[in-house]
Symmetry: none
DNA sequence: AATGAATGAGTATTCATTCAT
DNA sequence: GATGAATGAATACTCATTCAT
């Protein structure tokens, strides 16, 4: 069956890893797979379609990291395991992270197709759910779950994107330490207990 | 006088806004200004030079927002005014914000020229300085100023980039509200008081 | 079948004739063949590749002229037939002559690819071989075959390039006469018999 | 007075030395002289005019090498000194040699202006004169002076252009040796004295 | 399901030259 | 005598895509 279809996807991803978004060119994909560039059109309507599929793939992998966190026993543990999973994904599959969170904004125009956008949002909903149950369990203060999730996501995403953009001088383990320290501050606040 | 030089800069910025980094093409800039594409080379050595100048301009404007915060009386006020300035800049000059924080990571290769990189880093130092003096004044808990600045920047940058990427459904004033609420949480913590 | 591939080669040669090396431009070739310039890239990797192929073609044709001289019976005849072949080639295919002997020096940088360089040198070896056997047969004085071949080649190449550069006022048959007279002088010397 | 005019000439020549014919660009000349490219047009009508002047300059230098040979006492010595001068010029000012003997053929189209062409031919006449008087003095066999001069020039020019095109593996002193050996052969012939 | 040929629009950049000052 | 601004044509090359086979 359509073995090639998957190899194209994989290859497009590899090319993105190596040369960034512009590295995904029909010709390059074709060359790497020892296949004519036009062959790709049997499997994907056009380049846009291919790129969307690459993003979809990355979202799927992200889901694979996040999901196991649900198996933890308490809301608190589920939340913390989720954070861990997020950090692991960002560092182990940092290009996928890019694909999900940076590429779409570079796509311009129409943005993502409905379906893909929903999948992408689903991962945020995952966080809202964790926050919600942490409030109910008393681990978090009662507040608007959506807003708090936003605060948490922003903090994590901000740290990660600064790190990935190489704007920070830290190495990976240094960054992991910073991440958790920073997360601790987020939980307990920056203010002096006057 | 070199009126055109500035118009090119402005136009390049606009084009970036509309079509992303690749939208900045010599031909497009020329067309939009009703000028031959080659005329640009009178004013900028090449495309790279033009892009760097665009970034430099954005950094300068950012500095213009931040600087007045220093005139406030107390460390606390200087810090808060700085946050306000950051938010204003992000929302009023969101194209510049992108240019400073997103474009450089897409530039690949050598990255920014030394000088520009330093200027860009200077704005982070501004934050570290504010944090430092807030610790000394007792407004913040004593801690590592660099790390805390990182937490704060990450939080702010995360929020803003999510908002600018249109991943949030809020309008501007809604976002301003969210920003300050979220900032409040950052100051006081998410945890329940034991 | 790849009819176009050969037509491009021919056309590039013609363009070289008319406007020199810089006359070989992808656009010009395309225009002349009523084909888009980019179509050429289907058949040659880039301009360099095209030029190398033009030279290779010329070398091949040159070989075709020279080779039959080997069928003559005596070393002397083989040598003379070789000279004739050289002259015929220079006059009948003067564009190729240029391509082989003038173009490469204008190529700058790396010069010719190994393989092509070797082929090009082979034709000189052909002359060395003829000289060698003429010495053994007693037709030439004993001497260093390489050096003598150099003398002969220089003389022939000098005459031809002067003629082709139109620095001489002679027509073709006049030049043929001059060539053989001059060759005669080379064989018998310019000096008065002491 | 027009100091600049001469500096432009010199600079154009230098640029030719470094980067070949295409290295002579109005912009480059201007840049090197810290002068606007358009300033050149005050002194030379256009690029063609500039290049012609460069050639004229080279011809003048060539003349400077050749002329002193006339001071020798006998026709034979004048001839040999002329050959020496030719060889020295070719090796010491090899790029000027190029400028005189190779560049014009790359110029295409109209070729050189009348005046320049005549000057260039004059150096050949110099050789014809030497040959003529060598015949009268008995150093050379009686023959058609023009044809014999052609033989000699062809031989010399052939050797030099092969050497300059780097088609020969010799170094300079090796080439000088080869030149005179080859010249010797030319004088005495290649044939066995049956 | 895949190929080879070809296209047309697009890319940055270089160059000789003109013109107003 | 010289400059700065600007032009228009040219260059090699890349890319996504279409079409006939």
């Amino acid at each position: 069956m359509s073995d090639l279809r998957e190899r194209i996807l994989e290859c497009a991803l590899d090319l993105y890893l190596e040369h960034g978004l512009k590295g995904i060119s029909m010709r390059h994909v074709g060359d790497k797979l020892r296949v004519s560039a036009t062959a790709i059109y049997r499997h994907y309507r056009n380049k846009e379609d291919l790129v969307h599929n690459v993003i979809g793939e990355a979202v799927k992998v992200f889901g694979g990291y996040l999901f196991p966190a649900l198996s933890a026993k308490t809301p608190e543990e589920r939340y913390l395991k989720g954070c861990e999973a997020y950090l692991d994904f960002a560092l182990e599959k940092s290009k996928y992270y890019d694909v999900i969170f940076i590429v779409p904004s570079q796509l311009g125009k129409e943005g993502l197709p409905e379906e893909l956008h929903r999948q992408s949002m689903a991962t945020f909903q995952f966080l809202v759910d964790r926050v919600q149950e942490c409030m109910e369990s008393g681990f978090f203060q009662k507040d608007d779950a959506f807003s708090v999730a936003m605060t948490i996501w922003a903090h994590g995403h901000g740290l990660v994107s600064i790190y990935l953009a190489k704007k920070s001088p830290l190495d990976e383990s240094g960054f992991r330490k910073l991440f958790w320290e920073s997360h601790q501050r987020l939980l307990h606040g920056l203010r002096s207990p006057a």
